[in-house]
Amino acid sequence: MDITLQQVSYAYAKNTPFEKRALFDVDLHIASGSYQAIIGHTGSGKSTILQHLNALLKPTDGSINIGDVEVKADKKNKQLREVRQKVGIVFQFPEHQLFDETVLKDIMFGPMNFGVPEVEAKRRAIELTQLLGLPEEVLEKSPFDLSGGQMRRVAIAGVLAMNPKVLVLDEPTAGLDPRGRKEIMDLFYTLHKEKGLTTVLVTHSMEDAARYADQIAIMHNGKCVLEGTPQEIFAHEERLTEFRLELPQSVRFQKKIEQMIGKKLPTICLTEESLAEELAQLIKKEREE
């Protein structure tokens, strides 16, 4: 399912003294099956864009095409439910949305709202708890008795249980420990690869964007200022600093090494693993010569 934003503008609290423009003429195309990262400084409009992706917010100007549904300011849409089922959003700190008596019921809440039969919803819930590495006994516990990390996983399961075609993630790992962070990000990546889930990741973390995304869009003051593959984006350090962003750690490290040895590596290394690989090859070559 493609999502296309055309000249999208949005203002909060329009026509009040609190009016605040958050987006200015944003164009963005998210291709079906791609992994799109949206990066930007706090207040750059990332989260506002994200809420447009399943029509929680309607643009004050411009239009958005989500699959074959067009969302516009002055258009009443009847198919919004359908859109919301196909585009699952994991909000920042999703554990705040838990409410039901048991974890099982909470995970089943989303799919059942969209008319999935109870048996099927239950099957999905059990499958997802396993997938997310939760012990089976949590299913009958109250979600409020779990640890923070477990609550986060339950909330994520609640979104995944709707079987969305597009998964939108807003800083899904904020506040988790490094290990949990990696586990969850890897899980999203596997889902993206195996199920062909179109994934949109809104994040501060250059490292995550570099490691997982195929396409990156950079937001600054409500505008989409830079777009491209990670290789293209991280080739322009000057532009990034202009938007108060940094290179990912591995690229920064690569630059330092390149300075030290006075040689350039053939590619920009987006992860520590690929950097190690490149360096090993370089050393091997030097030895052979």
Binding site: Y12, A13, N15, T16, P17, F18, Q51, N54, L56, R81, R84, Q85, G88, I89, F91, P94, H96, Q97, L98, F99, D100, F109, G110, N113, F114, F144, G158, V159, M162
Partner: protein, 265 residues
């Protein structure tokens, strides 16, 4: 949706009304509530409306914004208007249709009550729109101070009030966030049948309560950590100062009351 609500919100500004002492504004509103009841005919109600519009002008709040924010109250006003219209049985009959009979007095009463409501709601809204919550509580605390003699926990009351005012916007934001998260999970409060909407309230209220309690606990800890131990011997950073313009404002109220008494029947 919630962003249009104006109850308890403060709009920073520098109008005459903004600069008034919060105590003056509080006393003003309280006395005004009493004075409104002096009016009893078209002229006196007209005077009240003119007076109110004068204050709106002086507060430099856009009328459109004010009216828009008061929409929920307008429904209440219309409701009371209709009640008066239908159930008052005095004066000449001006309209008759099946079992509904409208009397002249009913229409008059309905309009008067609506004006009264309208004027009161506008003035109290202007009080909160032009005064920071902190100064309102400060003012309340100083005004209630004499009651301490009778063991009324004035400081605690003021603190409770300022905390609740402080958390209105926070909880609003939170409601908005949770509502969106549940909407994304297919539970929508804004569409569907009445039953569906009622069902959508539980997934909103429970997380809201949980987080409100958590916030309360965090706040209590934070206050204790910073050595809060009640009002005894506490000094103030902000001082309220009564100035000439506050006296003038009070005087305008006396004039208003005089005019109303003179013009009433």
């Amino acid at each position: 949706m919630l962003e249009k609500m104006i109850f308890g919100r403060y709009i920073p500004g520098d109008s005459f009304i903004h600069r008034l002492d919060a105590r003056a504004k509080l006393i003003f509103v309280f006395l005004f509530i009493a004075i409104v009841f002096i009016a009893n005919n078209w002229i006196t109600y007209g005077v009240l409306v003119v007076f109110t519009f004068l204050i709106i002008r002086m507060s430099k709040i856009r009328l459109y914004f004010l009216i828009n924010g008061l929409k929920p109250v307008v429904i209440l006003i219309i409701f009371t208007f209709l009640l008066h219209l239908i159930f008052t049985r005095e004066g000449d009959v001006i309209y008759h249709w099946k079992f509904i009979t409208i009397y002249e007095e009913g229409l008059r009463q309905g309009i008067f009550i609506s004006i009264r409501f309208f004027v009161l709601v506008i003035l109290t809204s202007i009080l909160t729109l032009t005064t920071t919550p902190i100064s309102i509580t400060d003012a309340l605390e100083t005004l209630l101070n004499p009651l301490k003699k009778w063991k009324l926990p004035v400081h605690e009351l003021a603190l409770m009030m300022s905390i609740s005012l402080r958390f209105i916007p926070t909880l609003m934001d939170e409601t908005d966030k949770i509502m969106k998260a549940q909407m994304a999970r297919g539970s929508d409060m804004t569409t569907g049948s009445l039953k569906e909407r009622m069902n959508a309230i539980v997934p909103l209220l429970i997380p809201l309560f949980v987080s409100a309690f958590k916030r309360a606990e965090d706040l209590a800890t934070a206050m204790e950590v910073r050595g809060y131990k009640g009002g005894e011997g506490r000094t103030r950073y902000r001082k309220l100062e009564w100035e000439l313009r506050d006296t003038i404002t009070m005087f305008s109220l006396v004039v208003l009351a005089g005019v109303l008494v003179f013009l009433r029947q």
